[in-house]
Amino acid sequence: MLTLSRWKVTAVILSVIFGIVFSLPNMLPQKTLDALPGWVPHQKLNLGLDLQGGSYLLYEVDTDALRAERLTNMVEDVRTTLRNDQIEFGELGEAGGIVRVRITDPGKVDQAVSLLRRSIGGPLAGAIGGRDTSVANKGDGRLELSFVPEAAKADAVKAVDQSIETIRRRIDALGTKEPTITKQGSNRIVIQAAGESDPARLQAVIGQTAKLTFQMVDETVSQEDMIAGRIPPGVVVIPGTQPGAPPIPVAKRALVTGEDLVTANQEFDSQSGQAVVAFRFGGSGARKFGDATTRNVGKRFAIVLDGKYISDPRINQPLPGGSGVITGNFTPESAAELALLLRSGALPAKLNLEEQRTVGAELGADAVRAGAISLAIGAAAMFVFIILAYGLFGIFAALALVVNVLLIIGIMSMTQATLTFPGIAGLILTLAVAVDANVLIYERMRDEAAAGRSPMSAADTGFRRAMVSIMDANITSLISAAIMFGFGSGPIKGFAWTLSIGVFTSVFTAIIITQVLIGWWFKTARPKKLPIA
């Protein structure tokens, strides 16, 4: 094993060059780095949020609210569908996730069932021809409609994907430093913003659903009816966004929704000088808006944002162009924010903030400094100890360790793996285990020399016999790293990455590099005795 084969020497030289070239950007001042030509690697270690400071936000899609909303819509859809086909019905309502309706004309039950099966709900994602709603005939004209079990999950997944798109559009429009937005599990979204120690601005644009609807005000319902709770079916009472605004009754079904908006901008009203949000519908939205305003001239409609009305203007004339303005008590900033939210589209469901972590840049900088100092001291103590213990062979082990550190930093910079705070501890442990590989080899050599082998043969057998233990030890390390990677959250994943990269580089440096160094020493010094025997 100690023969200096060409591939081993090449591998050692290449790895040293690789380690130096790829870890160098971390050691140069930024100015020098910028001045270097483009083909030189420029990537530095990718520090985790805990080291460079930043915000971590975990949102959960409110799937219960999503389901409740879909059920409400289902009730309204059943009402409209049956009315349009002139099928008489009663007892329409929703309870416990099931929509129930009773068809009063026994002769039309079958017709109603097939009609509802055709028109309620939508196609189920992932199942060809499948629908997300089921209609059951319970006899006596009673029908029960519900979502199939798969629909809830499909809805959540769709809602998360849509939310991520929407959040990205909103954040892009904010123009801050690019945060990363990732999906976690089936119904969660993680937003990580490096260097952002005040996530309030992010939360302001993410926390709002921004669902805009235009709903007709039901002027037949009087103030007294509302107080007494005499609300006709299909009508709902909603509060206003302004403090002190009276609640108003509006039709549950929206005339037009924000989905059809093509643009929204903050503008100033030409007469009052007030900040307003100007919007324009496109295509079918413009037609629907035009039709609705034509049909309802003289009536009032409410502009509703997330279940609260902003204003309830009277339609003075038809608006066929599909554009209009929203007035409210806006400041230029709040109008601009609403315009931004409307432009980037509504979230499909409310997002609840479940976790928020912030690390100030200064604490991060303290951490980096403390980590670097302790790493340097730990490494120095190890070098001194190992050289004291094993002499020349200790120097070889220390050299291998230096290459090991360069390789780990180089690979982590190149792959942009995240270095977290626990990752620094992982790095220290990796170095300790790397030394263990050398210790195992050297102790084996001493045993073999004591058993009467010649120095060359003892060294060679030492390497060969220690291999088994080194492999066993490193495989168990890899197992724990794999588990940490699979289960852990951010910082633990960083630890696992550092550990796994370290396992590979340690085996390489402790075995190949020391082998070449010792082989070269045998060739040049022709020793009669091992320095450690």
Partner: protein, 316 residues
């Protein structure tokens, strides 16, 4: 010549490790009992990762008085306030508290933050970290699940590489290490956070590494000396790898020692746990894993070796 120092370690030692196994077993049993008592009476000092809650960092251009900050923070009406001053620097402190159940934790955190800042001119605080009860519960479950699966996989690997007696011995020893480590964290009330799980996994990793190295040597000697009694082979293997254990252990402790002193308050719990783990992992290889194998006996050659009873009268 004294250098290299390795020559100072005697070439051959003849410690009777096995002889002390009953004493060690008694000590371990006591420590485990103690750990369990502490674990079940005062429990672990769960950090906000696992308990849910609010943590926020405070900074001033001048040193912060921990007592003054504590009084103000308690005065805001927040529950279970903990203030850690001198957090990495005398000008920094960490404030933790539990939000009111069922309330808006983030709003409460912002209110407490504003109230504290108003009392300390010049103080800055980045946005508070808030972890909901739902997420923290899942994190804790996930953490322990990871520990369990790691143990099972390692048991599987050792079983595959050696024999089942070795696998069981190793896993019992590692369990011993985990219980004592958790016990120590509980007795000293050191904060148990997500990184503690990483530390525990490292403890398991290092301890397993020790067991594997020990077993490798034992397996080799079992093949070499087919007729020597098992207990003598265990003593022999231990003595043979003693210098390696001392050097590797010292190196690891030296490397961690620097971090323990200079690593700052965030790294300290992690490094402390790892340091203890290295000591306990080394101890349990010699005094838990090997004696267990001795009790169960091992397969040597073709026939099953008879288990040797511990205690007087069985000395060969």
């Amino acid at each position: 010549m004294a250098w290299p120092l390795i020559r100072l370690i005697p070439r051959q030692t003849h410690f009777r490790f096995v002889k002390w196994a009953p004493v060690a077993a008694a000590i371990s049993a006591l420590l485990i009992a103690g750990s369990c008592v502490s674990f079940f009476t005062q429990g672990l000092n769960l950090g906000i990762d696992f308990k849910g809650g609010v943590a926020m960092e405070a900074r001033m251009p001048t040193p912060i008085s921990g007592d003054a900050l504590r009084t103000v923070a308690r005065g805001t009406g927040a529950h279970d306030v903990q203030v850690q001053d001198n957090f990495g620097s005398p000008n920094a402190a960490m404030i933790r508290f539990l939000p009111t159940a069922g309330g808006d934790a983030i709003a409460e955190a912002n209110r407490v933050k504003a109230e504290i800042i108003s009392k300390f001119p010049g103080m800055t605080m980045p946005a508070p970290s808030v972890i909901g009860a739902k997420v923290s519960g899942e994190l804790l479950m996930g953490g322990f699940k990871a520990l369990g699966i790691a143990l099972l996989l390692m048991l599987g690997y050792i079983w595959f590489r050696f024999q089942w007696q070795f696998g069981v011995g190793a896993v019992v020893a590692v369990f011993h290490d985990i219980i004592l480590t958790l016990g120590l964290l509980s007795v000293l009330q050191i904060e148990f956070s997500m990184t503690s799980i990483a530390a525990l996994l490292t403890v398991i990793g290092y301890s397993m590494n020790e067991k594997v190295i020990t077993f490798d040597r034992l397996k080799e000697n079992l093949r070499k000396y087919k007729t020597t009694p098992l207990r003598d082979i265990i003593d022999l293997s231990e003595n043979e790898r003693l210098s390696r254990t001392i050097i590797t252990g010292s190196t690891a402790l030296l490397a961690l020692g620097g971090t323990m002193v200079f690593g700052g308050p965030v790294l300290f719990p992690l490094v402390f746990t790892m340091t203890f783990g290295i000591l306990i992992g080394t101890y349990s290889s010699v005094y838990i894993a090997l004696p267990l194998i001795l009790v169960w006996g091992v397969k040597r050659g073709d026939e099953e070796a008879t288990p040797i009873k511990l205690g007087a009268g069985t000395r060969p």
